[in-house]
């Protein structure tokens, strides 16, 4: 084993153990994309898993309803625009239809309703072309010490930060595969220090072709 191999192996061990300071932990986390380093981490997880029997079991409340509500939100109620469109179609006044069409925004390619499990927070995301607009629909932004950070989760890739959110945020964006998930986590002001979500996931929603 070369000196570099040994350094990598120790970094993997310390990452699994959890002793690394925040910055080094973030560096190690980024290296998980390297298959060699990921394999070292998996090896250390297996090696140290011999300590797992020492974690005693503890009664756990049934959190499944909240978890399911967050992962599998009900289909969103028809939007204001859809309601208007129905009204527009049934209205006989050509003038009203023209006025309505002028008000209709460009139909987005993808939309997502990013919902908290318990009412509170909701962001809506609309992706048109290469621009995504994320708007706060209900709930409020966190105080000055914290921030809402938006993440894109596609398949088995690690979440990718799309940046911090304000009341309305515009994000340049290439079209994602369908079924990608947008998630909002609570992070310290300035965003996650590790490049991965560190705080709780506050809201989740799937991007759907509209």
């Amino acid at each position: 084993m070369t000196a570099t191999d040994q350094d990598d192996d120790l970094l993997a061990a310390e990452y699994v153990l959890g002793t690394l300071p925040l910055e080094d932990r973030a560096l190690a986390e980024r290296r998980l994309r390297e298959p060699g380093f990921a394999a070292r981490v998996a090896e250390w997880e297996r090696r140290l898993s011999g300590l797992n029997p020492e974690f005693a079991e503890a009664p756990a409340p049934d959190l499944m309803p909240a978890i399911e509500a967050r992962l599998f939100p009900q289909a969103p109620a028809p939007s204001r625009w859809q309601g208007l469109r129905l009204w527009g179609a049934s209205a006989l006044s050509a003038l009203a239809v023209v006025a309505y069409l002028a008000l209709t925004p460009v139909q987005p390619d993808f939309t997502a309703v990013i919902l908290a499990e318990t009412g509170g927070l909701e962001y809506d995301a609309q992706l048109s072309g290469r621009q995504m607009v994320v708007s706060l629909k209900s709930g409020s932004l966190p105080g000055p010490d914290q921030a809402h950070e938006l993440w894109l989760i596609v398949g088995d890739a690690a979440p990718v930060s799309l940046g911090l959110l304000g009341a309305e945020t515009r994000i340049a964006f290439a079209a994602p595969p369908e079924g990608a998930i947008l998630a909002v986590s609570l992070e310290p002001a300035g965003g996650s220090p590790t490049g991965q979500p560190t705080g709780p996931v506050l809201a989740l929603g799937a991007l759907k072709r509209s």
Binding site: G18, E57, D156
Partner: protein
């Protein structure tokens, strides 16, 4: 539920089977709750974290590779990782001090050792080849989420000494377990 029954459940979760997801929760939540309470210190934070951990289980289950290890090991690794992220993100040193005082005795209980099997027995034997304080430091980091700073304070040695101890201890552990 025997632990190896978790593997087919986790594989079904990877295939987006919601019924399997519920069954997996019933089977694994008590163990993961135990991990999170021990590492995070309070039940309320542990419950918060448990919700987060199971959300990630659903989103990441397809990364689980049954050929590379047990389902419970994968789940515990995910829970520990999340707990460590939370602990390291705390800037509140007061609560870290409190957590230090509330820590249970690090000595393994006799019955825990007797029950240990496979990996667990091997790691137990290999721990016995380490100096007692180094073994205690590794266990404190793994089981209680202690940082180098916490460990240095607890064992009353400089930070760099602690890091050297721990790294040498880990290498020795690996060598012993591969023997």
């Amino acid at each position: 539920m025997p632990e190896d029954a978790l593997t087919p459940l986790l594989l079904s979760v990877a295939a987006q089977d919601r019924a399997a997801f519920r069954a997996l929760y019933s089977a694994a939540a008590p163990k993961l709750m135990g991990v999170l309470i021990r590492m995070l210190g309070t039940r309320s934070e542990a419950e918060d974290a448990l919700q987060e951990v199971f959300t990630r289980v659903w989103l990441r289950a397809h990364r689980f590779d049954a050929a590379k290890g047990a389902a419970m090991g994968w789940l515990v690794a995910l829970a520990r990782n999340h707990a460590i992220d939370r602990i390291r993100a705390r800037h509140d040193t007061v609560s870290d001090d409190l957590a230090m005082e509330a820590l249970p005795d690090l000595a393994p209980r006799a019955e825990t050792r007797l029950q240990a099997q496979g990996e667990a027995r091997r790691i137990g034997e290999c721990f016995d080849t380490l100096e007692a304080d180094r073994a205690a430091a590794i266990r404190g980091a793994y089981l209680d989420g202690l940082s180098y700073q916490d460990l240095a304070t607890r064992h009353d040695v400089p930070l760099n000494t602690m890091r050297t101890w721990l790294r040498r201890g880990l290498l020795r552990l690996k060598e012993c377990m591969e023997r």
